[in-house]
């Protein structure tokens, strides 16, 4: 913190300047979030065989943060990723955003105990997160957006996709965590 700061608020000559203190963790989270957002945006341009299915590679970043910096930082990255990506894609508060947010929130809820128990590696964590993400997304879509029995026919395909993408993401996560040095390191 610079000299003259009082609780992060600095009085400049004439104009009042507000400066929020930025911790090292904030910078770390911001860097990882930027990476996750970039991946999310690239993925958003890829065509999808079915609505609701995408590789979810942005979650590799979340897994990386989870392994290196714990659940709190991972939650920050995931929340920022969903929020900022939706603003950039113009889907903020749209059904797409709600689905994305519900999925991310549910994945984080599952990751907290799964990570804390320490038995799962990146593959297991990624798989759990992907399934939780899809389950929450589907539940929301079914109860709120399209409450029609026909949607149930999609569930097996969607869950299969979640298992496959979760597994793939986990394998990538494991490889990345073994080899790469992240931003801020």
């Amino acid at each position: 913190m610079r000299g003259g700061d009082v609780n992060g608020i600095r009085q400049a000559a004439g104009a009042r300047e507000l400066e929020l203190p930025v911790s090292a963790e904030d910078r770390l989270v911001a860097r990882y979030a930027a990476l996750a957002i970039a991946i999310h945006l690239i993925e958003a341009t890829l065509p999808s065989p079915l609505p609701g299915i995408k590789p979810g590679l942005a979650n590799v970043v979340v897994q990386l943060v989870l392994a290196r910096h714990g659940w709190r930082a991972a939650a920050w990255v995931a929340v920022l990723r969903v929020l900022v990506s939706s603003l950039l894609l113009g889907t903020f508060l749209s059904p797409t955003f709600l689905l994305s947010a519900a999925g991310a929130a549910s994945a984080l809820l599952v990751l907290a105990p799964a990570h804390a128990c320490g038995r799962f590696g990146p593959v297991g964590l990624s798989l759990l997160a992907a399934q939780a993400h899809m389950a929450a997304q589907f539940t929301l879509a079914y109860t709120l957006l399209i409450p029609h029995a026909a949607l149930l026919a999609l569930l097996p395909v969607l869950m299969t996709a979640a298992v496959v993408t979760g597994l793939a993401g986990g394998i990538i996560s494991e490889a990345v965590q073994r080899t790469a040095t992240g931003p801020g390191r």
């Binding site: 038995r119 799962f120 597994l167």
Partner: protein, 119 residues
């Protein structure tokens, strides 16, 4: 990869099997058709009893025919005969509508092929 990871992978794939069996295994052949006038259901017919039904609406009579698991609109008072042109309806979710007479015919089933159809 830890032991827990391996167990989880096996469990995840195993859990998909009952999901497919439950949601895809059941018979999806439509059984019934519903006829509504002005949004009110006036007739629910089995698709396996061949019969003709006269449905009265505000513009006249719409004749609905059921034959061999299918249903169609035989005649209706609409000027463009869109109801008749929909032809035989056999898949779940198929529908024919006669707007002047406010009659709609819809094949009912657990799974619908379409969420909605617009002309």
């Amino acid at each position: 990869m830890t032991t827990a990871d391996r167990c989880l992978i096996a469990l995840s794939f195993a859990a998909l099997v009952p999901l497919y069996v439950q949601l895809w295994g059941r018979d999806t052949q439509p059984q019934e058709a519903r006829v509504t006038v002005d949004g009110q259901e006036v007739l629910r017919v089995s698709l396996f009893e061949n019969h003709r039904y006269d449905v009265k609406g505000p513009a006249g009579v719409t004749v609905v025919e059921v034959a061999d698991g299918r249903v169609r609109c035989v005649s209706s008072p609409g000027p463009r005969h869109l109801c008749e042109r929909a032809g035989w309806l056999s898949a779940s979710g198929d529908s024919a509508v006669n707007l002047p007479n406010r009659v709609s015919i819809e094949v009912l089933g657990r799974d619908r092929r379409f969420d909605s159809v617009s002309y």
